[in-house]
Point group: C2
Chain length 463, copies 2
């Protein structure tokens, strides 16, 4: 072992350094088949060890890629053979839950689901919920500013994190473990680390804001006969439900058909002939009243001509069935190759944008399938597109069809997944050169040697 | 006029540069009597002019203090005789309102109330509301991350701003005018400018997130017989009201007595003998249902023994009367000298903290008055303290009594007002040296010559 690895092993203690097969036998992502490439995986037990590790690596100019649960979808935590992977898997302690302050203090390696469950034990809720909940870590959630199904009500991870402790590239520990909703004492330095994909510092601990656990969820699946009504219905439901609206998901016809037709298990609660379906949910504090309110809101929407048909979930089982329809993205994997996207744009531009993407797919590929759905209350569309003969030959054509039209409408190539390596070639479509230059300025100021997650998001030297 | 002033006059065009009496005859703050000190006030009409002004000043090493509505309370926009004051008062255009996207695009000099009214014209709401609404500008709100009465529901300014355009010290225009709720395409660079008190860039335009206008407000004043119940009642109301809770203000006994006893105009809706009073409000979408829900939540709180007595507002006039009680801070000005504070801490530490402040005031001054109230749902206390013989002789003793105990409990010397010059000596009580060092790193990276609002928040060179 090199001198550096020896020193890292000493810092991390017994079992703290993995090399050789212990590295390559681990998958590089939980949905990937290739093994991790890295000189070693170092697994610190506390912030002080992280600080010593980074200090050492910084001195040596050694690149470091931080690993959380490896559930990311944009190659944001992929390491190269020369990198050191810094895994926070042994920093998995929930340090404190305070039911009066409604905060939880955690180490960065705690798995999201453990946080959700611990909050629930105290009659509270940590609102972040994403598909990777059983594997993703809060450190990764913070590094990627994770979103999910409830953003319309509770915001993204940025809005759920009160304080952060992070270690800078040079080993400096910046403990900004604020516990208050309001704190304007100088710059809010934690914002720098949230959503920076591990490139400006390594988040080691955090203070999370908890909410009261909802006492009821009221859920409706509505059919809409035009896209203009998608926006109008959102406004009506939002206005009528007065703060309780927690999900507004929309399924385009093709997606709805796919996930309510065998081999999919779910049956269609509404006819398959409408162009759009909205899955609408509230989280409330008054089980009886909340369902009545949802029905009253729905009645108002009928009167305004916004809803063509609707099904109300009258039991938890029915509620689960409706979500199973929304969540059955797996059906799209029957189509090969299969490209999944995560983009966002203003609601007023969405219909035209989706049409434009389909026009471009037709022009490029002739035949294709595009299953469209997403968190439309947040302007966030997911596409599952199949086109071309192979992943390799079709990727660029599909990506360009999806990403290029975003530029003209001020849309984003990444609503919630981040940039990593995968979206780096397209970042310029969503950010001006001055914005990227400012990102570089921040990177150089905080990580002058460029050791943290190098090459992700943007190149350090302007192209 | 100097060469620099001549060039500034050329850039800003007719009426764009004020000097001499035109400067000194303007108050340095809307609640201050001293005049503005500055070489000149330059008043650009657009972002391009701001860019040219800063480029010129940066080249000359000329300090620039940006002026919004001058409603700040911490000497954050005070300029010195050598400074150039950059006033955005002529950049006061509302550029666009989109009712589908629920966004408003504004220039930084637009007054908050104009934004509120324009949103209202479209059946929408911009939720920020603070006392200075008729004079403060959105640029100042962004620079100070303004809070106010509805933070518990809608967050602070940081949570209401989707995009920002800012000019860096060297004149670079960073246009980050995002219009989406979700956008993880690289670092969220706008976060750098929000709450940095004009020291990292000059915000020139912004995209604001609008909400549906509430259809009803239900308001209750509750009397509580112990501080433990302040926290418990907050939890019960929050859980029961399911997202509709928009204000949870608490008045300590001395404040309540003061503002419900002549010469104050308001009569006490509840006996003056309780230690705490909570003003609770919801914003909802269902006028009848919302009032019933508030009464049901109150009934639950009674059952749990959390509320000793309560008055429900049954008309808009009664609602206004309850808020007039909360807002009648002017009564504290009958006591001289009068020191107003804005601090925050965890709810679990609040009762002990207030006791400690009073202990210290007794120890230092013997006699004093301390009227305590605030946005307790956010952990934000305001004190109006009168002690000592004169403002000059008492200031340091009062400030130390209030600020010093915050250090041990992780509280903030500034919940919402910012730091400016006034709180700069106390910043170290709420931020670690590593946090302040990181603030300096950001400042040096974005404004290497230190021309923007120099000397505010912290000294550029570590002390």
């Amino acid at each position: 072992m090199s001198q550096l690895l020896n020193e890292l092993a000493t810092i991390a203690g017994p079992g703290g350094l993995l090399t050789g097969d212990e590295v390559s036998s681990r998958a590089s992502g939980i949905w990937r088949s290739d093994g991790i490439q890295a000189q070693a995986i170092v697994r610190p037990r506390d912030t002080e060890q992280v600080s010593r590790i980074l200090k050492l690596c910084n001195k040596a100019g050694q690149s470091v890629v931080t690993h959380g649960g490896l559930t990311g979808l944009v190659e944001g935590a992929i390491s190269a053979p020369d990198d050191i992977a810094l895994s926070l898997e042994r920093m998995n302690q929930i340090e404190d839950v305070n039911v009066v302050d409604r905060t939880m203090t955690v180490q960065a390696g705690v798995v999201l689901q453990a946080i959700q469950e611990r909050a629930d034990d105290h009659g509270l809720m940590y609102p972040l919920d994403i598909g990777g909940r059983g594997s993703c870590t809060i450190g990764g959630n913070i590094a990627t500013n994770a979103g999910g199904n409830r953003v319309i009500r509770y915001g993204m991870t940025r809005d759920m994190v009160l304080g952060v402790e992070a270690v800078l590239a040079d080993g400096t520990v910046v403990s900004s473990m604020n516990r208050m909703i309001k704190n304007n004492a100088g710059y809010d330095v934690k914002q720098v680390f949230i959503g920076s994909e591990g490139s400006l510092g390594v988040v080691t601990r955090a203070v999370l804001r908890l909410r009261e656990r909802p006492r009821s969820q009221a859920t409706v699946l509505a059919a809409l006969d035009g896209f203009d009504k998608v926006g109008q219905l959102l406004k009506t439901m939002d206005a009528k439900l007065g703060g309780a609206l927690s999900a507004y998901e929309v399924l385009w016809n093709e997606f709805y058909r796919l996930v309510t037709t065998p081999p999919a298990k779910q049956k269609p609660p509404l006819s398959q002939d409408y162009p759009y379906y909205a899955l609408i949910e509230t989280m409330g504090g008054d089980p009886e009243g909340d369902h009545a309110r949802m029905e009253s809101a729905l009645a108002e929407a009928y009167e305004e001509g916004l809803v063509a048909d609707a099904a109300v979930a009258t039991s938890e089982a029915q509620r689960q069935e409706m979500w199973a329809i929304r969540d059955d993205v797996e059906q799209t994997t029957h189509f090969d190759p299969n490209f999944i996207f995560d983009v966002s744009m203003r609601l007023s531009k969405m219909e035209g944008y989706v049409e434009e993407v389909n026009r471009r797919l037709t022009a490029t590929f002739g035949d294709y399938t595009n299953f469209t759905f997403g968190h439309i209350g947040d302007g966030n569309i997911h596409f599952a597109i199949s086109a071309g003969d192979s992943e390799e030959s079709a990727r660029e054509g599909v990506e360009r069809a999806v990403y290029e039209p975003l530029h003209a409408i001020g849309g984003s190539v990444s609503a919630e997944h981040g940039v990593g390596l995968e979206k780096k070639p397209y970042l310029h479509l969503s950010r001006t050169s001055e914005e990227v230059a400012l990102m570089r300025t921040l990177k150089r100021a905080l990580d002058p040697k460029g050791i943290l997650n190098p090459g992700k998001i943007f190149e350090l030297a302007p192209g």
